[in-house]
């Protein structure tokens, strides 16, 4: 039987709004497109990470949602690189970037495949970008579901905690397709601390539907 972890922080990014632990962190203008909004969030977080600009949209989304939940977590001071993992999910895989790449190769008379786009044609690249930025080396997996599946993800992460493979995990949902986007990420820890939410599907559903 798996043990139950605890949720230290969570972030939601959707509809030009970024939420951290239930409170609004940034609200963009209604007319802002995703590129404008996510750049505003990057600036507000006061990050200096130049590879951000080269990432595809899903990686930008996942990385900013991660920056929000880690910004006051001091997680790197508590755990080693291999004690922290990342378990993400979505429904469209990397389809949005796959389509962008296809645009560069579909015309044989104007055939210039972009290496910089090609490297993002896998969904788990978002995990790679998070791990590179934060020097995380623990277990990581990316699942594809028709819709967000908190039961599966909580069970999976709690099993990683009970098996001793992880002590902390960034988990949740990062979806980007055809301009529609939603990230819901949380930082779970195996160890209990004061006033933390238990890492169960019921609790996840409550905060996800914030």
């Amino acid at each position: 039987m798996s043990s139950i972890g605890f949720i230290k922080s969570y972030s939601i990014i959707r509809n030009n709004q970024a939420i951290l632990n239930g409170e609004e962190f940034l609200k963009g203008a209604p007319e802002d497109d995703f590129a404008t909004f996510i750049r505003s969030l990057y600036k507000k977080l006061e990050i200096t990470h130049s590879p951000f600009y080269k990432m595809d949209d899903m990686c930008k989304l996942g990385l900013m949602a991660t920056e929000l939940i880690l910004k006051d977590s001091a997680i790197k001071e508590k755990y080693t690189d291999t004690e922290i993992g990342v378990v993400l999910s979505n429904s469209s895989s990397s389809l949005h970037t796959d389509a962008s790449y296809y645009e560069t190769v579909k015309d044989k008379s104007n055939y210039f495949p972009s290496p910089a786009v090609f490297v993002y044609t896998l969904p788990n690249i978002v995990i790679g970008e998070i791990c590179i930025r934060n020097k995380i080396k623990g277990e990581n997996t990316f699942f594809i579901f028709e819709e967000y599946n908190p039961e599966f993800i909580t069970d999976y992460v709690n099993n990683l905690f009970s098996s001793g493979k992880l002590k902390s995990c960034i988990a949740g949902w990062v979806e980007f397709c055809e301009g529609k986007y939603e990230a819901f990420l949380y930082l779970a820890e195996a160890a209990q601390a004061e006033n933390l939410i238990t890492h169960t599907a019921e609790q996840i559903k409550k905060i996800y539907n914030f």
Binding site: S50, Y53, K54, F112, P113, S114, P115, A116, V119
Partner: protein, 85 residues
């Protein structure tokens, strides 16, 4: 040659999404990789595509690529020399 160098700077900033970099920030003789602009291996591939797409020039081997892509100036020299032919 100066026009070509400036054109290359703009094209490279756009192709490599160097949003924090302005053309005037780039020293044309500074290394593109390592110190200089700090480009990586994917950027190198993107520069090869840029050369072919914008100037119709193919890089035939890795040894010549190292020389061609050492700086903006060396890229401009290569383009100027081979576009004439």
């Amino acid at each position: 040659m100066e026009d070509l160098v400036n054109q290359l700077k703009v094209q490279i900033i756009k192709a490599l999404k160097l949003e924090d970099v302005k053309p005037e920030d780039i020293n044309p003789t500074a290394p593109l990789f390592g110190d200089g602009l700090g480009l990586d291996s994917i950027d190198a591939l993107e520069l090869i595509v840029l050369l072919e797409k914008e100037y119709g020039l193919r890089v035939e081997n890795a040894a010549s690529a190292k020389k061609i892509f050492s700086s903006i100036k060396s890229m401009a020299d290569y383009i100027a020399e081979h576009k004439k032919a």
